[in-house]
């Protein structure tokens, strides 16, 4: 009997946006970086005056473009004074896929000044550059930070701390939190710790025998 606990057919999806269930939350458009500006300008002209948010997501392994830059727009009339005058509320979501080695999309800060911090945050945490942004620098992380923390290949505790093990009482939960659902065996964990401590495999075996 199929249950919610069994993985969905096909296991985990490489691109969840392509296999999404039929949820009526927004109109969805997918555009290439070259058409992004034209699409957003057209939508703004159609009445989608408010840029609700610019976000991003990382799908490593998706070809040819691993990142999605996601624009959420809202239809809103600045002259509206009554609830009816706000008009039919409607959201549109524009997804723009961009790939490595140089992920870059055009900025929309000239269309919406509010995009400034959101684009800086994506640059900061994903390393996606915004061409034409007036002040593209890190916003959340320190200015001299290396790496892009929200990328999936960036370790949870950061590259420096990932190499050193946690104290044993905290280890299991912390390591498990960064591993896939399948989990690692205790022996594999022990090996990982031993490698980090610079011990050889023989010691690991004796440790296994004497728990």
């Amino acid at each position: 009997m199929p249950s919610s606990q069994t993985p969905p057919a096909g296991g985990t999806a490489l691109d969840p946006t392509a296999v999404r269930p039929d949820i009526d939350d927004a109109r969805i458009l997918r555009v290439a970086p070259a058409e992004l500006r034209a699409t957003l300008e057209r939508l703004k002209g159609e009445g989608f005056a408010m840029l609700l948010d610019v976000g991003a997501a990382d799908y490593p392994g998706r070809e040819p473009a691993r990142f999605d830059v996601v624009y959420h727009l809202l239809r809103l009339d600045a002259r509206a004074t009554t609830i009816a005058g706000v008009g039919t509320p409607e959201r549109v979501r524009v997804l723009c896929a961009v790939g490595e080695p140089d992920p870059v999309v055009p900025t929309v800060t000239d269309l919406w000044p509010s995009a400034d911090w959101a684009e800086r945050e994506i640059y900061d945490l994903y390393g996606v550059r915004f061409d034409g942004h007036p002040d593209l620098r890190r916003i959340q992380m320190p200015d001299d930070w290396e790496g892009y923390p929200l990328r999936k290949d960036y370790p949870l505790r950061g590259p420096a701390r990932e190499r050193t093990p946690r104290p044993s009482f905290a280890l299991k939960s912390n390591v498990a939190a960064g591993t896939p659902a399948s989990g690692k065996t205790a022996a594999a964990l022990q090996r990982q710790i031993a490698q980090a401590r610079g011990q050889n495999a023989v010691n690991v075996k004796t440790e296994d025998k004497n728990p």
């Binding site: 249950s3 919610s4 606990q5 069994t6 993985p7 969905p8 096909g10 296991g11 985990t12 999806a13 490489l14 969840p16 946006t17 296999v19 999404r20 269930p21 949820i23 939350d25 927004a26 005056a49 408010m50 840029l51 609700l52 948010d53 976000g55 997501a57 990382d58 996601v70 959420h72 809103l76 009339d77 600045a78 002259r79 509206a80 004074t81 009554t82 609830i83 005058g85 706000v86 509320p89 959201r91 979501r93 919406w112 000044p113 509010s114 400034d116 911090w117 959101a118 002040d135 620098r137 890190r138 916003i139 959340q140 992380m141 200015d143 923390p149 929200l150 949870l156 960064g178 659902a181």
Partner: protein, 410 residues
């Protein structure tokens, strides 16, 4: 405190500090009592007039979005509640609404669970506005109001503690409903809060709203036009103070908000005083909703979905039923899986449209949880409204935008 000319902090602040004439660069914060958290503003002033303001954020960045990707679906809400720590239940509600939509169980949430969710979210709105009103008053020297506000807030936090077990982060809203039913005595406690609200607000309005000193400080300070508000993506009271009655509860109703009667207060002035009045009116509207919910809560009912594959089975059945034990074990040890897909869900938080863009790849952990932080967008407009104002009014403008740095920096 001026910035030394030898080390300009960043490209956005001025490269060389000029001291010619009256021009000066001032670094306000990040340790400043009136910044309501850790906000730094590199301010250029000519005499007392601000010519440029560059807010610097990120001092409270804790990687909540990254943490959430590494927790089970049901665990992620514990860190998500810590974003907007003045109204944690709005965050939890929005996140779980998104998850429930991905699971396809969004339409099956029992009415009582929805009513309690609405009740708690409106209570958080009042509690959150109490903090804004109290601390905003302190910024302007009105100390007395703070104690009245925090007293009211404390009674509301007592309600959170009674329902979920914790004052500030109760983690009471769960997938498919609530963590447990409302405890005995909760409704009597709620009635006492409802009874104290009216006289308390009357006192506060008399103390603060008509106060000539506060009016002098707030009227015509930090003026925003409706066009600017839309261009800068403002939502919530900040947007409604410019005259646009956009409210997520009305535009995209959720959790049964369409069945309650309430108005969307607006003002047209767009200054700090208009935002002040809109928030005060919003507290009254929130209490109006609470009174309507209160009438429905006397009839008991289911408070979570019966599907024990998502919602844990009742505690008493675990000792008796093998299936219940298995489901409980599965939920605790590996949580549930969510079908692949992405969804954007928004609620009207105390600060505006609080949105979650949640992506699942089919695993038992969220693939991506992107927050649409209303505080961040509201705070960003400080760059615009501060120019041409007095440096002394900077604290008024920050207070009137009501940022919460747990949410701005995440």
């Amino acid at each position: 405190m001026t910035i030394s000319s030898a080390e300009p902090r960043s490209a956005f602040s001025v490269d060389v500090v000029e001291r010619t004439g009256n021009r000066m660069v001032l670094s306000m914060g990040p340790q400043h009592p009136s910044t309501h958290g850790v906000l730094q503003i590199i301010t250029e002033i000519e005499g007392e007039i601000v010519t440029k303001a560059s807010p610097e954020i990120g001092y409270l960045h804790t990687g909540i979005e990254k943490s959430a990707e590494n927790l089970f679906w049901s665990q992620a809400s514990t860190v998500i509640e810590r974003m907007d720590y003045l109204s944690p239940l709005s965050n939890a509600l929005c996140y779980y609404l998104a998850v429930e939509r991905l699971l396809g169980i969004g339409d099956t949430i029992p009415p009582r669970a929805q009513q309690v969710r609405v009740l708690l979210c409106e209570l958080s709105r009042i509690a959150s506005h109490c903090v804004w009103l109290g601390t905003g008053g302190i910024d302007l020297g009105a100390l007395t109001g703070f104690f009245y506000c925090f007293d009211l807030r404390e009674r509301i936090l007592d309600l959170f503690e009674a329902s979920g077990g914790a004052r500030m982060h109760p983690n009471y809203i769960r997938v498919g409903g609530l963590g447990r039913d409302l405890p005995d005595g909760f409704l009597a406690q709620l009635d006492r809060v409802i009874a104290m609200y009216e006289p308390r607000m009357r006192d506060l309005r008399r103390l603060l709203q008509k106060n000539p000193i506060l009016q002098d400080r707030m009227i015509d300070v930090g003026i925003l036009s409706a066009d600017d508000a839309v261009a800068w993506s403002l939502t919530g009271p900040t947007l409604r103070a410019t005259g646009i009655p956009y409210d997520v509860r009305r535009a995209f109703p959720y959790s049964g908000y369409e069945s309650y009667e309430f108005d969307v207060p607006t003002r047209t002035e767009g200054d700090a005083y208009a935002r002040f009045l809109v928030r005060l009116d919003e507290m009254d509207e929130a209490m109006r909703i609470i009174r309507q919910v209160r009438k429905q809560l006397d009839t008991p009912g289911a408070w979570q979905i019966p599907d024990t594959k998502f919602a844990p089975p009742p505690k008493e059945t675990i000792a008796l039923s093998m299936e219940a034990l298995i489901h409980h074990f599965k939920l605790v040890s590996e949580s549930f899986r969510v079908p692949p897909g992405d969804v954007y869900q928004a609620v009207e938080g105390p600060r505006g449209e609080l949105g979650y863009y949640v992506v699942s790849n089919g695993d038992n952990r969220p693939w991506r949880v992107r927050t649409r932080p209303p505080s961040m967008y509201n705070l960003q407009v400080l760059k615009k409204i501060a120019v041409g104002e007095l440096i002394a009014d900077m604290v008024v403008m920050i207070g009137s935008l009501d940022p919460v740095f747990g949410e701005v920096d995440r």
